[in-house]
Symmetry: C3
Subunit: 303 residues, 3 copies
């Protein structure tokens, strides 16, 4: 798991624009290796975020079996689309935020807290890694019982993704999801590439078809249901200074969608991370499609 | 703890008859040994089952002290009746299910999730093991405060059980519980024996007086309050194939009770488990007293 | 964490005067050391108390960084006033209870369960230790968002405390808190000293200005809002018998406040703890300001 804390400023946020934001995430795993060299395991997550009254619940669990690069998971699984290697590559700073470059579309992912009433949801995921190639597929049924169709859509979501690294220089990533969040027709895709132009500099380009249905939980200040999410193109890169510890990163993203609060087609951000060797200090300054500025400064450590 | 997952088919279940069922159970223990060689410890359990929105709560806790084979527990304790060695010996497959051979009666056991409003419940349990003999006694007060008599009965439940193994061949088990689940007059008893007729084959016989009050949480498709639970006799056995890994198991049970959905006095099942060395694959096919068929196929691993 | 269990008697308590009381506390920490020798960490707590339906939630979390004796914490932090070294020095027995010598005033502390609606609370704490000196400061904002002022007061609480040990014989402790629990004007202070008159005997004196606002959660049978909490003076001591394992402890406290149920200005108690080497048996007998007697007998172990 990890811990992180710091201050986030959001322009025109109701109440105080600058607030402390802390998250602690604990992954609890149990696992066993069989005599045949097959690993079986289970995971739940305990996560507290600033604004939660308590560590109100652990996550739903998933169970997995791994052998020779092939992993099959059942339960509250990670999904193929969400796991695509470069989908979140524009994120900046200690909080890993990107207000312009991330997908706006709604799709399932590992649920860190609660299904929230969608308690008959079940997922199955498969991933396979060999050398520089990873292939994933996932299937989520929002209600396997047929009796509890309370939230999101009622279709089954199916997703695939592929990551490939060529010669340790070029990363390629692609993903597709059908009926994201269980909504019929909410199909999305993503392609991305990042190339190490120097040993200490990389540049990348992402293209995201955001589909039809926004995940408002992930995008509280963006579009709402029924508005045009458009497609997003993002150019991004990062550069490590000669100290080998300071990493500068930036993106510029263009979205051709149309929603009520949208003021511009261009969002951008710049960030920096300083490696403390086990922890990192980070900061970012970004402007979103509503022409609102956000900034953050914090520290993150993994354990 | 353990993890398990697979598919369970239940004939005529509302909604989909076949559903994925996953459980992850994590026992969290803290313990310390004193200089005198006495062990003190505490346990809580985190358990998620398919159909739960989240890992909604950890269990109430218990505290124990152990020395020279004697263990005393206080709090959310395991009960003597529930711990009887052969009470669940007819269970089959990776999910350890027995729709005909298990007790229908209501009695207290360690609560894996929440007391559900019965929050002034308290238990004390004692167990003593020496050589091949184990003796247990437990006492549960549903409401020690005298002010919170909300659920089940309000009497105190008292239970005892004894297990004895003779010559590593013959297992004997007996148990008695008075005022099960706190209901006055809801007395139950159990006697069972299992004999290893061969090194790789065992045969057993159980007799259960189910008392007067069904635990509907444990028996969702069976009798309801006020119906005659009868007594249950179960004949069961298991056989390990020459590979030493495949174990075939079966039971046939007779119940002379009478409830609305009951169609027959006989239930039966057959199962198989294959040992993966740290995990096991299992399957079962069973028919209950309502003449409904159920089947399951899954994997379970302990960690 | 720790576990403890036993029986507590409270004179004239509604329902049964004697009840079993069990607590299990589990602290879950994650931490990492950076290459520069700085430690980053995070903590959540899982705690179950007798009377809780389940381990209903984990605590809100805090994140800390430590280096060279300086610790900075953010989130659900321990507060300077609550951490003052001798503030709880009159507590007796295995349950560490003091019905006369503890503060009656309301102030923030680490929250073991839930903020209870005050979910935009945030704290920052600093402590610094060098040789025999520890200095602490803490700041709690009950609602950093400016939008969620639901519980307690809405002011920011600020506290400081200092502990100093002289020559391993004399302990000095002082603390001050402004706007305790966020109530304007609810200022409190504490000074205490304890001296080791012999190698196996100590005697101490505490003075507490309880402020204006009682923490009724901590003092269920004492004063209520709007009543005069007065100031508390407590004389206390402890003596270890020649076996080196048995510790006798006692206090007498005087409070000049005035509240409805108060019958006397003097409360007192005597207790004993027997060291089991990793666990301890303890008992106490006390009388509070309402002239009610309470007694307890239990065991506690730390792990």
């Amino acid at each position: 798991g990890y811990g992180r804390t710091g201050v986030i400023y959001v322009e025109d946020r109701a109440g105080n624009e600058s607030q402390i934001a802390t998250r602690v995430r604990l992954n609890i795993d149990g696992s066993v290796s069989t005599d045949q060299g097959v690993d079986f395991g289970a995971r739940v997550r305990l996560q507290w975020d600033q604004g939660d009254d308590a560590l109100e619940s652990g996550s739903p669990a998933y169970v997995y079996v791994t052998s020779n690069g092939l992993t099959v998971s059942v339960g509250n699984v990670s999904t193929a689309y969400d796991d695509a290697g470069l989908l979140y590559a524009t994120e900046l700073g200690a909080f890993d935020r990107s207000v312009g470059g991330n997908s706006l579309g709604g799709f399932y992912a590992f649920e860190s807290k609660s299904y929230g009433g969608e308690n008959d949801r079940v997922g199955v995921a498969v991933s396979y890694s060999v050398d520089d190639l990873t292939v994933r597929a996932s299937y989520i049924d929002p209600d396997q019982s047929g009796l509890n169709e309370v939230a999101y859509g009622t279709d089954e979501e199916f997703g695939i993704s592929v990551d490939y690294t060529w010669n340790e220089r070029l990363e390629l990533s692609a993903a597709y999801v059908q009926s994201g969040l269980g909504f019929d027709g909410n199909d999305q895709f993503f392609v991305g590439a990042r190339y190490a132009v120097l040993d200490n500099a990389r540049i990348g380009l992402n293209y995201i078809d955001n589909g039809d249905f926004v995940d408002t939980a992930q995008n509280p200040n963006g579009p709402v249901a029924g508005q045009d999410l458009g497609n997003t193109v993002a150019l991004y890169g990062d550069y490590t200074l000669a100290d080998g510890l300071t990493n500068i990163e930036a993106y510029i993203a263009n979205n051709d969608g149309d929603w009520a609060s949208k003021e511009t087609d261009n969002a951008f951000g710049i960030g920096v991370n300083y490696d403390l060797g086990g922890a990192r200090l980070g900061a970012s300054l970004q402007r979103n499609y509503d022409e609102k500025v956000t900034a953050d400064l914090g520290v993150r450590f993994d354990f």
